[in-house]
């Protein structure tokens, strides 16, 4: 044995990182004279304490699964797609156009159409930076960041003009037709006699996200194009030798990535808002980066990480409510600490843990 066992790598290391994050966050809370135990209690209760809070947690989880998967697919080709934010925004535009164009009779028809709209627009928005990277050598990090701003501006422009609901000041479209309404958890669970909060926003898109995670897993680890994506990501120089086209891989990986980011809009625009509003992405695109890093760019890890971040998001809102002394900024600090520890500082704890394991193993062997 010369490396960490897989279970320790995948489970133990993240758990230790989360614990460390909470310890540091606890110190910060202590410093402002509050009780850190209460903080953790209210956060967990706020995230999982009732079907309403679970409904919100799963709603955020759904967003983060989509954006996390989006980042992971590109990352497997070592393409740093920071444009999830913009691709989701444009994806929302695509979904909304489809849903506004027709009075859909039933969601089972509207959903596939909206998925196509969202993913085609999201992929389209990723295609331009992909082309620039593959053919012109413009760095994907720079171009995707730029495209976030352009995407937000386009959305703002359309919502203040063409798509604005006539006779009002707010930059939002008219609501979609009744038939485009997606079943939420309350409606899905009612036939089974399970009570679930009526107004919680989690909806059927959650299962769409889980399905997407499975498809991404098959794509990356079981399909030929996934093989090419991983080969290109691991060793770009070797692909020439093998006859793998770097242009093709770059563009395909980015199209899939953009489509997944765009599909996040299904959950928010179609599932929750039922109309197109400005700034609906709310940082989920960026959060996807942290989710994917924490989940080791693997769909299974991403689902778990997305759930944790969903809890943090929802628990953070409740925390502000329960402990007024902890301000919104304070909650952001706590969330940021967890992101830093679980995402950026993974190797800080991984290496010492690996050493301890190796030493234990050596003793065991001797």
């Amino acid at each position: 044995m010369n490396e960490l066992p897989r279970w320790a790598d995948v489970v133990l290391v993240p758990l230790i990182n989360i614990a460390l994050a909470f310890i540091v966050a606890g110190l910060v809370v202590l410093a402002i004279g509050q009780n850190p135990i209460d903080m953790v209690y209210f956060m967990v209760k706020g995230a999982l304490g009732s079907t309403s809070s679970i409904g919100y947690t799963l709603y955020y989880t759904t967003n983060f699964i989509f954006t996390g998967l989006a980042f992971a697919v590109a990352m497997n080709a070592k393409l740093f797609n920071i444009g999830g934010e913009g691709q989701a925004a444009i994806g929302g535009l695509g979904a909304a156009l489809v849903l506004l164009a027709i009075d859909w009779p039933h969601w089972t028809l509207a959903l596939p159409a909206a998925i196509i709209g969202a993913s085609v627009f999201g992929a389209g928005w990723a295609a331009i930076p992909a082309y620039l990277q593959a053919k012109r050598g413009s760095h994907i990090v720079i171009t995707t960041i730029m495209f976030n701003f352009i995407g937000a501006a386009i959305l703002g422009y359309l919502l203040n003009g063409l798509l604005k609901k006539p006779g009002q000041q707010v930059p939002e479209s008219r609501s979609f037709s009744e038939g485009a309404h997606l079943p939420n958890f309350h409606e899905m669970l009612q036939p089974f006699g399970i009570a679930f909060n009526k107004s919680a926003p989690a909806n059927i898109s959650f299962f769409l996200a889980i399905g997407a995670a499975i498809l991404v897993w098959l794509l990356i680890w079981r399909s030929r194009i996934g093989y090419e994506i991983r080969a290109f990501g691991n060793s770009p120089g070797a692909t020439l030798y093998a006859g793998i086209s770097s242009v093709r891989v770059t563009i395909i990986a980015m199209l899939i990535s953009g489509a997944l980011a765009g599909m996040m809009a299904i959950n928010v625009v179609m599932g929750e808002q039922e109309r197109l509003i400005k700034d609906f992405v709310e940082g989920a695109g960026f959060m996807g980066i942290a989710v994917s890093l924490m989940g080791r760019n693997h769909p299974f890890g991403i689902v778990l990480a997305a759930f944790l971040f969903g809890m943090l998001n929802q628990g953070g809102f409740e925390l502000m409510w329960e402990m007024p002394e902890i301000s919104r900024e304070m909650v952001l600090v706590i969330q940021a600490l967890i992101i830093i520890f679980t995402g950026a500082l993974v190797n800080m704890t991984r290496d010492p843990i690996e050493k301890i394991f190796l030493r234990l193993h050596k003793k065991g062997a001797a």
Binding site: N2, L240, Y241, A242, G243
Partner: protein, 534 residues
Amino acid sequence: MSETAPAIELKGISKSFGPVQANKDISIRVMPGTIHGIIGENGAGKSTLMSILYGFYKADAGEIFINGKKTEIPDSQSAIAAGIGMVFQHFKLVKVFTVLENVVLGAEDGEMLTPSLVKARDELTNLAQEYGLNVDPDALIEEIGVGMQQRVEILKALYRQADILILDEPTGVLTPAEADQLFRILARLKEEGKTIILITHKLREIMEITDTVSVMRRGEMTATVKTADTNPAELAELMVGRKVLLRVDKTPAKPRETVVEVRGLNVTDSAGVHRVKDVSFEIRGGEILGIAGVAGNGQSELLEVLGGYEKATGEILINGQAIDLTGAHSDGQSRRKRGIAHVPEDRQNEGLIMDFQAWENMAFGYHHDPNYQKNPLLMDNRKIRDETQAKMERFDVRPPNPDLMAKSFSGGNQQKIVLAREIERNPDLLLVGQPTRGVDIGAIEFIHQRIIELRDEGKAILLVSVELDEILGLSDRIAVMFDGRIMGERLPEETDEKELGLLMAGITDTKTDHSVAEVEAQLANAGGAPRKEV
């Protein structure tokens, strides 16, 4: 102690990295004014030992004595202070600095550079006279040849008052003529009382220049003998731990019909440098054509064109049919379909994906094979894995575990994985670049046998190697490349290293004697700087 103290004495040095014991209780005495060789296979622990001596690693146990005095070497600064100089296999030079600037770098006397430079210029003149180490102090590193660059490394060490010089695989990048020149310099340094440690895996060099030789195997020092009292066969056996066939065992070739015909091939790379100039040759089935040459003289580009990922003009016929050279209708995939298999020169960056498991690597380049597809959407990973298992056993890859990452195998076993993948495709033409670079002696024997077997099955083989021994041992015909051109073709039984060495330096008139200076001047004129690090 009545006699002179050893320049270096190591006592009981041990070092492990995690579970790997790189050095096990090593003791060695190097007497002053001698050349001491350290020989061993890759991974035997030579470099680790020298890194401990130079302060890069701290030994887990053991003591170091310099000139009889116990010395702690926690970092390279202390090594330099103790009079130790190191010439690395990969030079540590700033390419856009001059020779003088490189020599002074890290040994400046103060904040202002000029006084140091003036002093260094004088010192270089002295050193040049004393040891015959002539280098133009104002030349840029990127504009001088590798032989010269190596001299700069030696000068750097001497400028820092080194009495003990460690050279790590110094001849890896040199032509035979340059290597001879290096050995002359080392002999001169020895005369002047310097102590030299030469790390190498080449038996010939050990026999030629060292006074004493220590053999390492699997982290242990297996023997230290006087060079005069030993012979290459014995050393090889000590290195590998069993008898080794140093000569390639093969019968004369039985050439069949022509498989490859290359006519008037020209390659200009993306930087606009003319790399291959009007090259023509042919290879028949059942025949090995060896291409000799110093790295960077167009051999790599030749392989890349045949392998389908470099553009060229001219004509290449495979079994009488032309292949596309424009890159518009061809890539690595289409070449494989035409029966060309390729063992690339750079195994770690091209031939394998180091972070892929062995079975994933076995599909690399052949991942479009319909047999590897379970259904139109998904690959048949189980089948690839089972196939890999069988191939690994046939090619004696150790350990034969398809789930290990490529990076966990030794160099020799990595190469066997690539060979297994390419040879088992039963190609009409096998391209082989540097088949045994970084490969242990034991595995070399195996790899050479497999290449000969493929030849005897009637396949055409194009072998590119910078190792003249390998070229002479394997080839049925030898072509020498210099500056993108083929300088001439020879038969292995009618030529020798000296003649090939001159051709490699671009000198076609091999009958008359040539001075070393002449060879070097010729090499320095060779077109363009070397394309990649070798």
